[in-house]
């Protein structure tokens, strides 16, 4: 049970992120919800590679000891960089929306409906 705790933490982060995306109306809070889902998925990727009593895979000419899996760490680095670019783009569109609509309430920013 204690071994599964990181996976439960990922599930809680993803569910909190989806709750924020569905029920909060401020556009900045929607971006924060998207970041929560992304953090949950990144944590899930790193947790996949864990082995108990192992060291970080950062040595060359290492002594014979166990290391955690390095591939998920590479995947997570890529995902963090993609998340950075995505958040920057969404926030710049939020600034433009504020300039045109004078509000960032999602129930009022809906000139394109039906």
């Amino acid at each position: 049970m204690i071994d599964n705790l990181p996976f439960i933490a990922c599930a809680i982060l993803v569910i909190l992120g989806l709750y924020t995306l569905t029920f909060k109306r401020n556009l900045i809070k929607i971006v924060i919800g998207l970041n929560l889902v992304e953090s949950g998925v990144n944590l899930f990727l790193i947790t996949l590679g864990y082995k108990s009593n192992a060291v970080a895979p950062i040595y060359t000419m290492a002594a014979k000891e166990e290391m955690v899996l390095p591939t998920p760490q590479a995947l997570t680095l890529t995902s963090i960089v993609i998340g950075l670019a995505t958040t920057a783009l969404i926030l710049s569109f939020t600034i433009l929306i504020y300039k045109h609509y004078k509000t960032i309430d999602a129930s009022k920013v809906r000139r394109l409906r039906e």
Binding site: L18, L21, T22, F23, K24, R25, L27, I30, A106, S107, V109, R110, R111, L112, R113, E114
Partner: protein
Amino acid sequence: MIGVLETGTGVWSALYWILSFAVLFIIVYFIYSLGGKTVKASGDKGKPFLSGNEMEKEKIHVKASNMYWGFTEALKSYYTPLKGGHTGNINDYVGWFVLALAVILILTGGL
């Protein structure tokens, strides 16, 4: 031969369709040309006339949003919830997405 598509149960050829359409068109045009000429619309005969009022052509042109009024009015009970579902609100977009995810996970996974 070229131009003949085999669907599973039959054959479709667009070239034969054009050929038969051209033959029928020639027959119809021949019958049409045997008839009398139509009267030319001049003076009061060509102007639009609407319930006793004469109007210009620009005013009686049916606009796009009025075009299918009968169809949309008859299906009001289908269209009102449909337009209510398309709100334009980003929270509802994500809500529909999560709903579809839940239904598909239940169906494929037996969760």
